[in-house]
């Protein structure tokens, strides 16, 4: 059975241009300055008129992906590059211990080589007993977890029961599969329900794994190394917290895309401990010197005061209607 056939359409569209919005045409104005310059306006308008509207017959429409590739080609010809989606460049992990789940995450959000947010929150609320860490594109993880959290609350109201982790997993994987990997959200989902603690890892293409310990993100290899060394089944809560803290610390110190503090979330039956921050691994140092000089450091030799003579040229009074 040969599995080596090549599907060109997905390999060429790995560039994520429009985070979140897939069928909407307008580009976010604030983040693109060169693209909307006069040179590009005519070609952009020409592109818009070429797209033909066609009734959608179910499933996701990938027409804009071809348009995006064309626009990128046009931009590259003139030497500009299109904006990159902001990724979280993360280390997230989770572990199952005796009474529940410990989820951990770093707090750095990067935009290319610059740290966009030094203390962002990557552990998202899904339901009172289920939390989800997100790696990948920041907007995608944020919106996906919010959508599923909202749907899960409606589902729980309709069933009258506390939601199960398997339900959240199924909803997330079906949504991500529907978007065929274009939603760049890699998630670690954990929670405690009536069947005990459960931990899932969910990949952007929609595949999931149910495991006792998982890591995701650019620092996942460093964190997984720590887990592989020290994980034991049925740990105590303190041991589990220490293990997760060390795994995230490994990711923070060995991966450029992860950094700042360590957030933990301990979920047990009936209780959630959202510890933010658990460990400030990278505290900003205190300056030892000061560049401000006290008054009088420089001695005054002479002082001359010259008043400027200003004459009134024109005076107008405009009354305001304050009735």
């Amino acid at each position: 059975m040969g599995l080596s056939s090549h599907f060109f359409s997905y390999e060429n569209h790995n560039v994520r241009l429009y985070k979140g919005s897939t069928n909407a045409a307008p580009l976010p104005a604030a983040s693109i300055t060169s693209f909307t310059s006069r040179k590009h306006k005519p070609s952009f308008n020409k592109m818009a008129t070429l797209t033909v509207s066609r009734p959608l017959f179910g499933g996701f429409s990938f027409e804009n992906c071809k348009r995006n590739a064309l626009l990128e080609g046009e931009a590259n010809k003139v030497g500009c590059s299109l904006p990159a989606a902001r990724k979280t460049g993360t280390t997230i992990c989770g572990v199952v211990f005796k009474d529940g789940i410990v989820l951990g995450a770093d707090t750095r959000a990067t935009e290319g080589m610059i740290v966009a947010d030094k203390n962002c929150s990557k552990i998202h609320y899904i339901s009172p007993n289920i939390y989800c860490c997100g790696a990948g594109t920041a907007a995608d993880t944020e919106m996906t977890t919010q959508i599923i959290s909202s749907n899960l609350e409606l589902h729980a109201l309709s069933t009258g029961r506390l939601p199960r982790v398997a339900t959240a997993n199924r909803m997330l994987k079906q949504m991500l599969f529907r978007y065929q990997g274009y939603i760049g959200a890699a998630l670690v989902l954990g929670g405690v329900d009536c069947n005990g603690p459960h931990l899932y890892s969910i990949y952007p293409h929609g595949s999931t794994d149910k495991l006792p310990y998982v890591t995701m993100g650019s620092g996942s290899l460093a964190a997984m190394a720590v887990f592989e060394d020290r994980y034991k089944p049925d740990m105590e809560e303190e041991d589990a917290k220490r293990l997760v803290r060390d795994a995230i610390a490994a990711g923070i110190f060995n991966d450029l895309g992860s950094g700042s503090n360590i957030d933990l979330c301990v979920i047990t039956k009936g209780k959630v401990d959202y510890i933010r921050p658990h460990d400030e691994a990278n505290k900003k140092g205190v300056r030892t010197g000061d560049y401000k000089y006290k008054r009088g450091t420089t001695g005054v030799l002479t002082k001359a005061v010259t008043p400027l003579a200003l004459e009134v040229v024109e005076e107008t009074v405009q009354t305001m209607d304050t009735s």
Binding site: M1, L3, F7, H205, S207
Partner: protein, 217 residues
């Protein structure tokens, strides 16, 4: 992980696997390894189960993109249970294979997954069907699939005999999986085997250190 695999042509997590199924006298053995990889360089899971039960006595093995395979088998499981309720009898193995074939063929542009279906039914006894990447459906007494299968074609052709006994067939399947896992980097972990006969279903899990060893190990 944000890594997009450009060497392997499977998007996302790949099952990069060795799967096989063989009929013996009175039943069928279906088996797989348990490794899921990303881009041919990172093992994302050492213990995934690629042998999925789609009905009481029908199992299917998946190969290709893990996301596609999981979605298709879940849909097939639903279709099959609905079909069996409507027909008021357990489904035929060929029905299960056809359901998978329909899903793979109708969505051949978007999906990247292949399956081996094996099971027992009252009409034809033990059967093995293979649904290839584009949706081709074929019935064979023994079949192998996945990236690791290329290393064991010779072994399977030489060693398979029709109408073996249950234990002979189980040993044959274990040996074949062990040989493939020994040579293919994206197959590994434990060997999951399921023996399906008229009386029922038996799971055999052979952990990595209990796999048969060959001359150079």
């Amino acid at each position: 992980m944000e890594k997009h695999c450009t060497n392997s042509q499977v998007k996302g997590v790949s099952t990069g696997t060795t799967i096989l199924a063989a009929t013996f006298d009175g039943g069928v053995v279906i088996g797989s390894d348990s490794r899921a990889s990303m881009g041919g360089e990172y093992v994302s899971s050492k213990t995934i189960n690629k042998v999925i039960q789609v009905h009481d006595q029908i199992f299917c093995c998946m190969a290709g993109s893990l996301a596609d395979a999981q979605a298709v088998t879940k849909a097939a499981k639903f279709h099959l249970s609905f079909h069996s309720v409507q027909m008021e009898s357990p489904p035929l193995v060929i029905s299960a294979a056809s359901v998978l074939k329909e899903l793979c063929y109708k969505n051949k542009d978007e999906l990247q997954a292949g399956f081996i279906t094996a099971g027992w039914d009252r009409k034809k006894g033990p059967q093995v069907y293979v649904v290839a990447l584009g949706g081709m459906l074929m019935s064979q007494p023994v079949t192998i699939g996945g990236s690791g299968s290329t290393y064991i074609y010779g072994y399977v052709d030489a060693k398979y005999k029709p109408n073996m006994s249950r234990d002979e067939c189980l040993q044959f399947a274990t040996n074949a999986l062990a040989l493939a896992m020994g040579r293919d980097n994206v197959s590994g972990g434990v060997a999951h085997l399921v023996v399906i006969t008229e009386t029922g279903v038996e799971h055999v899990v052979v952990p990595g250190n209990k796999l048969p060893k060959f001359h150079d190990e």
